[in-house]
């Protein structure tokens, strides 16, 4: 359950950004969470609710999670393919010579502030 520490990391980055950009209240936070990342979005939302409530900066903030699809390079097909989990074979050839190229990201994209 590292979503709690990740969420606390999110709030900390937001605090730094608040100081840099001069805002004091966040209305919405957009996170980009890859389908192949180690984060469970529901769990992240749950933790965010708990962590955000205790901070004046984030207490009214709404969390929006943007899922980024998993993408991999299949060596056998020499093609970029979409996969839903790390254990998926290549959807074209059924092989496992696939290397993940996108979908592992965990990023704070932007915030709506006042």
């Amino acid at each position: 359950m590292h979503e709690m520490s990740l969420t606390e990391g999110v709030v900390r980055i937001l605090e730094e950004q608040a100081a840099t950009h001069g805002f004091s209240r966040i209305k919405t936070v957009w996170l980009e969470i890859g389908e192949l990342s180690t984060v469970v979005p529901d769990s992240m939302e749950f933790c965010f609710g708990a962590v955000a409530a205790g901070n004046p900066l984030t207490k009214d903030a709404r969390l929006e999670i943007i899922r980024v699809p998993g993408t991999a390079w299949c060596m056998d097909c020499s093609a970029s393919v979409e996969i839903a989990t790390r254990t998926d074979p290549c959807p074209r050839c059924g092989g496992y010579q696939v290397t993940v190229t996108a979908g592992t990201e965990m990023r704070i994209k932007e915030v709506e502030v006042e």
């Binding site: 520490s5 980055i13 004091s24 180690t38 790390r86 993940v100 990201e105 965990m106 994209k109 006042e114």
Partner: protein, 302 residues
């Protein structure tokens, strides 16, 4: 709260208590987090990572606007990991991050490995557990320097804890540094500690489907060790299937089979470590030779 380790009340063993915080945080705190008032100390042998988030109050604007952030959630951890990696490169240290389920045999493996290496190679160990210093005590019994990090509620080591532990333990130049992570096949996968490789240990009593059940860990690992092979006759563990599963999530993973109890298979494991260390030291030699050449050149042109 430190970096992303906020879930914790982690402690680094052996830290001398001091309230002015001139202790094991050799990094400058230019990343704007404050260790001051949030730090609590249980006793004088630990660093205690404070809890709680300091509120930042900035006079606000009344109109709502969008601010681009574009920051990696693990950015702070990754900054520390980068510094640990740079430290390892500079000192010719091969750092290995051992990850597994609880009880797969990490500490047993490390004790035997330390015994086998210690005459030839300097070795140091950082032990991560939620509680107790039992594992560090076991390592120290072999005569190897070891430091316990207790993560409290935290389910993984993070790079900042490792940075503090390195400062405390001060591993020798050109040594092998083993970091035994908290027994957990999930969370440590996400946290880069600055290691050269993650080594995933799977014992044959755990079932061969673990690489598919916990793919992130096996995807992140450079080496998978199948441990407790002395027990294979008593299990229905299918080694070939397990390796096939691991290669599905990580086509490049190296696999070794051994028994930390009997020592079977140890030659290959020790050879793998030795080769990794050779490369780490060779890189340091190259860097030092470049420095030496630059120094000589500066004399020659003077």
């Amino acid at each position: 709260m430190c970096t992303v380790c906020g879930c914790g009340d982690a402690k680094v063993e052996g830290h001398a208590h001091s309230h002015d915080h001139d202790h094991a945080h050799p990094h400058d705190h230019d990343h704007g987090h404050d260790h001051g008032p949030d730090h609590h100390h249980d006793d004088d042998r630990h660093i205690h990572y404070g809890r709680g988030i300091a509120g930042v109050h900035v006079p606000g604007l009344s109109q709502s606007r969008i601010v681009q952030i574009e920051r990696d959630i693990l950015g702070h951890n990754n900054d520390f990991a980068g510094r640990n990696r740079a430290w390892a490169a500079e000192h010719g240290v091969l750092a290995l991050n051992l990850v597994s389920s609880p009880g797969s045999g990490k500490t047993t493996l490390l004790c035997r490995t330390a015994e086998a290496l210690k005459a030839k190679v300097p070795v140091a160990v950082i032990e991560g557990d939620q509680q107790t210093s039992f594992d560090a005590d076991r390592i120290r019994a072999t005569g190897i320097p070891a430091l316990q990090v207790n993560t409290g509620k935290g389910c993984h080591l993070d790079a900042h804890m490792v940075e503090s532990a390195i400062a405390r333990l001060a591993p020798a130049d050109d040594s092998v540094l083993f970091i035994e992570n908290v027994g957990n096949l999930v969370c440590p996968a996400a946290f880069d500690l600055g290691e050269a490789y993650k080594v995933a240990i799977l014992s044959v009593t755990e079932g061969e489907d673990k690489p598919l059940k916990y793919p992130d860990m096996f995807a992140a690992a450079g080496l998978m060790i199948l441990n407790k092979i002395d027990l294979l006759p008593h299990t229905d563990f299918d080694v070939a299937r397990c390796i096939d599963f691991a290669r599905r999530v990580n086509p490049d993973i190296v696999v070794l089979q051994l028994s930390a109890r009997t020592g079977e298979g140890f030659d290959q494991w020790l050879a793998w470590i030795t080769e990794g260390r050779r490369r780490a030291v060779a890189e340091r030699i190259t860097a030092l030779e470049a420095k030496l050449a630059a120094a000589k050149a500066s004399l020659g042109t003077a």
